[in-house]
Symmetry: C2
Subunit: 287 residues, 2 copies
């Protein structure tokens, strides 16, 4: 499938802005809607979009063959509830949310039947926000996950695939909403919960002068946007709690080996983690 020509980005933040940049470069006519007039002005001034508004979105939406919602989960649902009447008949709609459970079902439950919502998740991001940091190069090494449900059509899935291809994602895969959220609970949300908890465990700012790479690497993602991440955590609460429990049990096992003076067990844990990490590197290299 060719990418639709006219694409509107709703929510022009870091991701929305990077989509705009990439899609404009790919030859699409890109417009944008954002509450912040400064974001629209920046995107127009820097050639990321051909048109944009911080006011009435109707004139842009009625021309858009596809819409990318670059919004936080709750804002996404609210925006669609309020504005779905403005979408062009046959429009394809996708999102950038990091969690799918609850959101996809809700949206597909209330959306107009002549419009298709196909969920997708660009696994890319940075510790900054705002269109001013937009850069579609960040998609090059990243994964793009398409999350179809039984309500989606081959046309919707092909659109998501074409979108990811145009944006230059290295890997495009497809998962069910449940598979996606379980995986995300482990590889993304648990790691953020750990980084935040490590930073909060003690007032460690005075240790800045002693830290090496390991501490820096582990806590880089502790600089977290509280509104976005609390929405994502609550949207995936059960998976994340299960992952935290499993990790805490693993750490407790290591502590017990240490407390019991069980050197053989401690070494076994180290050998296992080193072997898994090597296998992991190998699989990544093979991709």
């Amino acid at each position: 499938m060719d990418l639709p020509n006219n694409i509107c980005i709703v929510g022009l933040g870091l991701l929305g802005g990077s989509y705009a940049m990439g899609l404009t470069r790919a030859g699409c006519t890109v417009s944008a809607v954002d509450l912040r007039a400064g974001a629209i002005r920046y995107a127009l001034d820097n050639g990321l979009i051909a048109a944009g508004t911080a006011e009435d979105p109707a004139p842009l939406l009625e021309k858009a063959d596809a819409v990318v919602l670059g919004l936080y989960p709750r804002a996404l649902v609210e925006w669609l509830q309020k504005n779905q009447g403005l979408l062009k008949p046959g429009a394809l709609v996708t999102d950038v949310c990091g969690v799918k459970g609850g959101i996809v079902e809700a949206v597909q439950g209330f959306l107009r039947p002549d419009v298709e919502f196909i969920a997708s998740h660009p696994m890319a991001g940075r510790e900054v926000s705002g269109v001013e940091y937009a850069n579609c190069e960040m998609f090059r090494p990243a994964n793009f996950i398409i999350v179809p449900t039984e309500k989606n059509t081959p046309r919707g899935i092909a659109f998501a695939r074409a979108l990811a291809g145009a944006l230059g994602f290295a890997h495009i895969t497809q998962l069910s909403s449940a598979e996606h959220d379980k995986m995300i609970g482990y590889v993304s949300q648990l790691t953020h919960a750990i980084a935040v908890s490590l930073m909060n465990a003690t007032d460690n700012t005075h240790l800045a002068e002693y830290t090496g790479d390991s501490f820096r690497d582990l806590t880089r993602i502790a600089k977290i946007n509280e509104q976005l991440w609390s929405e994502l955590f609550f949207a995936n609460r059960e998976n994340l709690i299960a992952e935290i429990d499993q990790f805490a049990a693993s750490l407790e096992g290591l502590k017990q080996a240490l407390a019991n003076g069980d050197e053989a067990e401690l070494k076994r844990l180290f050998v296992q983690s080193a072997r898994r990490r090597s296998l992991f590197d190998q699989r990544q290299a093979e991709r």
Copy 2:
């Protein structure tokens, strides 16, 4: 203090080899002792050392004004017990161990009175081992910590400082053994315990294709040398257990906020961790 001219490295691994390279470049006459003839040959062939042996260390040690023990904690204590009679009178001895409690006291307790052991910790390393990977450039951004006791003299401390200076460490500081080990328990050992436990929590190798930077960063250090790290963990067992407990309580607090639907508390934790991490970046930038 000028660096002593003749320095012998005992244990020619990644760190010992990198010391050899840096000290040879700094103009010292560097020799080395290692059990592995291949390591000595490599260092000779590549100009890291002027002399070396995998057999009788006596001829090299009797000429050495200073000795750097690039050995694991237990091997260090055993080597000194066995070979201290071979050291040159007045020799200065230091180490590279990542934990000081137990080791420094033990060594200073049995060492000949005409030889001084001044403990130090180069906070640098990589996930590989062996002299073949030696590269003194790794010291440039790193911390060097001198850990004197009441048995050390100004001459011993000045030697450690001159050594770190010649190797090009960015920051040279001084801590007591107790301060050092408490700090290390948090910034290094706890982070390794977390990475290992995250890798061990579940068989996650099939997730390699979905992981982003955060998971890769958090688990990079899970590729761990089981002999070295079990020695280091046991040598600092009480500090590390206390740090694990504190971190586990912090993670449990986050989980409870999630389980109770307490969005305000979850956001407070995110804001706190983000603020601390920003302050931390700031302090590192100011250095």
